[in-house]
Assembly symmetry: C2
Homo-oligomer: 219 residues x 2
């Protein structure tokens, strides 16, 4: 059976995976880029942004596991865009196509969970955004079918990762804990008391200051 994986999911010391006040210009609200600078500094981050170079140590080793073996992603609507409620851009020239430009870094089908389904959006590079109103279980079934035997990545945000963890659907979870105290935003851990009992947990701190936490489901 294919695996369900989370990669490069960054949280603050106080457990926030996104900040407060998200807008079209600030996907992570007041957190700005602080949760992800560790990743941008790696070779993997450089290649995503079309820059040469970058660090090649433990941060990069974790970061570059993002792509290989993945056949589909599931993300929350909040990761796709800051809008809530019914879409107001349907059929207009200003259609929102996510934060990632014309060639998003997913290169697979992406299932966006929303209570407001809309037609799929096909991007360059193989990314197709599908908008579905589904439970974690049903979304995973759809993503598995689209993934053609490859693994499914749960892309976030925190509410989606939390829901999939609570439902027992995640096989491996990589968190990058960044040494900042955000104070506000959306927490990962709420409602997950005792979740560690289902996983082997490993921690390793990187020279960047980030601590990588690996949760791997017990066999």
């Amino acid at each position: 059976m294919s695996k369900v994986r989370v990669h490069n999911f960054s949280i603050s010391l106080d457990g926030f995976a996104t900040g407060d006040g998200r807008t079209f210009d600030a996907p992570f609200g007041h957190a700005g880029t602080r949760l992800h600078e560790w990743m941008f500094a790696t070779r993997f981050g450089g290649s995503m942004q079309g820059r040469p170079g970058g660090s090649g140590g433990v941060d990069n080793a974790f970061a570059e596991r993002f792509g290989p073996g993945i056949g589909a992603e599931i993300m929350g609507r909040g990761k796709f865009g800051p809008q809530t409620g019914p879409w107001d851009d349907l059929g207009t020239e200003r259609e929102w196509r996510g934060w990632w430009g014309p060639n998003p870094p997913f290169h697979t089908p992406v299932f966006v969970l929303t209570h407001h389904p809309r037609p799929a959006i096909e991007m360059a590079g193989g990314t197709v955004f599908h908008f579905i109103d589904a439970s974690p279980q049903d979304a995973l079934a759809a993503a598995r079918e689209a993934a053609g035997g490859l693994d499914v990545r749960i892309g976030g945000g925190p509410t989606v990762v939390r829901d999939f963890l609570a439902a027992g659907l995640i096989d491996s979870l990589h968190l990058a804990q960044v040494p900042i105290v955000l104070g506000r935003g959306v927490r990962l851990w709420d409602g997950l008391e005792g979740i560690e009992a289902r996983y082997d947990v490993e921690a390793v701190s990187a020279p960047s200051g980030v601590t990588h936490l690996s949760f791997n489901r017990r066999g």
Copy 2:
């Protein structure tokens, strides 16, 4: 000037430094001993409990910094005991003297912050519990005077550490982050947004699974 230090202050992944449901039999509530097993497993922990042996690696290196150079401790009433409100044990044979037995591990004056002052309690081994109703600043002045030029340890619980951090009074903070999700209790980080800007922060993970976070105030 003497330093103000926090040592061996353990938190869960979700930032709780104590659990829910504290009683005379459960100083950390539903957390039980899970937040401190890493410390009990060290040589330092063994010596505190009168056991020989224990680990001698990074966990121990941090743990044994607890004592040297400290001349006084400040703790919250919640660390001293689970009671709240007026003391009901004054002058009785069942006087509560803390969780630590006749010879507590402090061996210095200890200032217990409470809105209900009471006479001091002198223990074996040099520990004297003083009960004072004071602001962080005033408590620190009293502790510094009692410490005779040595450093002052802020002993917790989370509310007290948080208050002293917010007041800018902590020079060095050692946190031991344990890979469990407690879900309930008292959080350390609330109200401390951006606190990292005042500190150099270092993280190191130990084979035990604990990640030690060192906050040292910028010069």
